[in-house]
């Protein structure tokens, strides 16, 4: 398939504040820390809402993150938890999952990144977060992100392999054995 990419945000007004590299438009949060940035964010809000409507995704949540300063560790953790809460995960024993994330904050970025990566391959499949505890063996607890897929097994495994190649193999070390991404078939 021919890939005709262009950028929704590719207007002269907006590109003043954007970093354009390798054919991708990347907006750096640092560029929004001024008065013009506020105006730009309003415009972006509209554009991203449009994009979200087109794709059915929750893109607008990110703007909330960009508006806040990020120096505070306390607020950063709170904000990332808030972003995760707004992503379309379902939970098994949500309170335990959130407590675990609060104790293992290195997982927060991974969970947020994983959502975007997984959605590229399993667009509408339900995603669940649950905490795995094994009190009998005494193994450490860890989080399981389950993709409940409607794809055939061969297709689903192929997509999961792509996720491995694109992202997980380069990032799983950040999880310190505290996150597993599993497939479950409907």
């Amino acid at each position: 398939m021919e890939r005709n990419s262009y950028f929704l945000l590719d207007s002269p007004k907006l590109t003043n504040e954007a970093t354009v590299s390798e054919g991708r438009t990347l907006f750096n949060p640092n560029n929004f820390k001024n008065h013009r940035g506020v105006e730009l964010l309003r415009n972006l809000d509209t554009l991203i809402s449009d994009a979200a409507i087109l794709t059915g995704r929750e893109s607008n949540i990110v703007l909330q993150d960009l508006r806040n300063e990020t120096t505070s560790i306390t607020y950063t953790i709170h904000r990332k938890l808030s972003v995760i809460d707004k992503l379309n995960f379902s939970y098994k024993e949500k309170e335990r999952v959130i407590d675990y994330l609060k104790q293992n904050t290195e997982l927060l970025d991974l969970i947020i990144e994983s959502y975007s990566v997984i959605r590229n391959h399993f667009r509408f499949d339900p995603l669940t977060l649950k905490l795995h505890s094994d009190t009998e063996t005494g193994y450490e607890d860890y989080l399981i992100l389950t993709i409940l897929t409607g794809l055939k097994a061969t297709e689903a495994i192929k997509e999961l392999d792509k996720i491995d190649d694109e992202w997980w193999l380069n990032n799983f070390h950040r999880a310190n054995d505290k996150l597993s991404i599993d497939l479950v078939y409907r």
């Binding site: 703007l63 993150d65 990020t70 505070s72 560790i73």
Partner: protein
Amino acid sequence: MGEQYANPPLIEAFCQFNFEQDTDWDATMPGLVFNQLKDEGFTKKKQANKIGFEIQVVGNQSNPQLIPVADRVQFYNEEETALFQVGPYFLAINVLKPYPSWITFKDLISKGLQAYLNVTEAKTFKTVSLRYINDFEFEGINISLEKNFDFRPHFPQGFPENYGPFLLGSQFNYDEGQNQLQIQLTTVENGPDKTKLRLDLVYATQNLEGLKSEEILNWLELAHDRIEFGFEHSLKEDLKRTFGIKEG
């Protein structure tokens, strides 16, 4: 904050410096700052990712993605109770619970700033701020604000006693408006079994004309005094008693 208390409510304090972009920055600088600070016990290096976003349109479909944007490096101590954050024209020094003491914190700020200035040769401060974040946990909901806080919202008579989450903030100007103390009291958790409130105090300057790096520590001392005044006068004695008094 609350130096004399055995169990102060402070969960995080940090000092943040932003510099004018009047010197060159390059990506090797955080590593050079790290080299100067690792002998102080700050040996854990982490990349702090912010969440950025990207939108591509392929054919008729747009494809918004959340992506990490790496823009600063964090150097933690072994216990991960203190860290330096280094980025382009940016330095922050954070301490987490348990708060070490103002003298120790100020010493960290001084060392971090010196290392950053040595490496980057940054010349001009853009903004400086000092911030203290305190959390108070209470059992139950609808706790008496009047009994615990002098800095609190006033609810007119006739309003329901079940008051729910609130946000109260004010700015106090010092030195003809050159320096500001902002105090904010907000609900962090509201029931069903407990209430958590947050008192967030930040002291910042908007007028740094002529402020030299050697004068920063004096500015910080005054900032700390004013934050401490704000903290002590925002709380009622009943609440302060729950923190206990440090022995010795």
